[in-house]
């Protein structure tokens, strides 16, 4: 479903990587590895269509992403480095709006249920700025629970700053996504193992 052909990327004066080629079928997971500065985040943003590669193509369901980004965006859930939540809004408001942008409408009740699952029960109405770092990250990740309609998940360091319980929760959602036939591309410094699902690795050399 997701194909990358000969991707090359230049940032500033450096060539970060060249000749990246891979294919991801339904139900497959890709783990992008590499030392800091090797271009993992850049590659993920390239796959989303936020950046244009120096050369090479990205194809989603056979269509080139550059020509028609909208079809990719309709199926994409992207969680980047930045938590992408507004400090002045509550977790519930952030969740509802974050999903609305991607085309998924949720009721406040559905949102609260998910936030409860992510350990924010009773704090759904609190502005993000009043939450701890860990709670903030969990509020940002809660989108995963309602992202069933999105066939492609691209997650940049989803496991950072999470405790063991939260890590399990995220992994459970990833497994569910794969079982549904969706794809996941992610970066992580921790070893990730999902029962019943193989992980393809992509190593970005320095």
């Amino acid at each position: 479903m997701l194909e990358a052909l000969g991707l090359e990327c230049v940032r500033g004066q450096r060539r970060l990587f060249r000749g990246i080629t891979f294919g991801l079928a339904a139900g497959q997971m890709l783990w992008v590895l590499g030392p800091n500065g090797s271009g993992k985040t850049t590659l993920l943003r390239l796959l989303c269509g936020l950046l244009r590669p120096e050369s090479g193509h990205v194809r989603w369901k056979g269509e080139d992403v550059r020509g028609s980004p909208d079809s990719l965006h309709a199926d994409l859930l992207y969680l980047g480095h930045a938590p992408a939540v507004k400090d002045d809004l509550s977790s519930r408001e952030n969740l509802c709006f974050g999903l609305a942008q991607t085309g998924i409408g949720v009721t406040p009740r559905e949102a609260d249920a998910v936030l409860g699952e992510f350990g924010l029960a009773g704090r759904e109405m609190v502005p993000i700025r009043a939450l701890s770092q860990g709670q903030k990250r969990r509020a940002a990740l809660s989108r995963l629970a309602l992202g069933a309609a999105k066939a492609l998940w691209i997650l940049d360091e989803p496991f950072t700053a999470l405790d063991a319980q939260a890590v399990q929760l995220v992994q459970a959602h990833l497994a569910r996504q794969l079982s549904r036939g969706g794809c996941v591309v992610f970066t992580s410094h921790h070893e990730v193992e999902l029962a019943g699902h193989a992980v393809t690795r992509l190593q970005l050399a320095q």
């Binding site: 936020l50 950046l51 244009r52 980047g80 992408a84 507004k86 809004l89 942008q101 085309g103 559905e110």
Partner: protein
Amino acid sequence: MTALGLAPVFAAVIRRDLTLALRRRSDVLTTFFFFVIVVSLFPLGVGTQSSMLRSIAPGVVWVAALLASMLALVRLFASDFDDGTLEQLALSPQPLVLLVVAKVFAHWLVSGLPLVLVAPLLGLQFDLPAGALGIMMLTLLVGTPCLSLIGAIGAALTLGVRGAGGLLALLVLPLYVPVLIFGAGAVSAAVAGMPVSGHLSVLGACLLIALVLGPWASAAAVRIAIE
């Protein structure tokens, strides 16, 4: 869970930006009071002779509106850029151009519309006749959205750049000149008792051009900034 089309997403963007603006009321009020103070300073600087005040009023109010509008522009995309929500907006299946229109509209409601409403009161300080006050409101009503639409381009181009505020002024003020000329010109004509329809139609044309080309350029600038 439901699938959302363009209209609900458009409305959601407006609602979100308005909610954020209301929770940060101080930012909004600062722009408003800046406008009021700047206009009120002029008589202190140039004297209070009625006929002179009447002749400089259109220009003074309009320039103050320009400056206040620019102060407010910095807020349009900057906080979204910093916390990562802007790139999420760019990843929406809905066209970024239209979401930018939504953001600019919400921004105008909060920073432009109050200026339109308070301008007649300020016009009274300058001894403007009632007819001219009405024209002043009308020109600001048509002109301030223009300023927001054009200014959004500059705001997007200077995202995350050092000295963004000053640079934004340098980039955007020259582009404001036609709106200033016809907006202030209309009010001056009204004060002199001359017809204003010509000025107003040009101002309307400026708004149409800004509405068609502005968001497109702003969206392109946003994409360049989040690369």
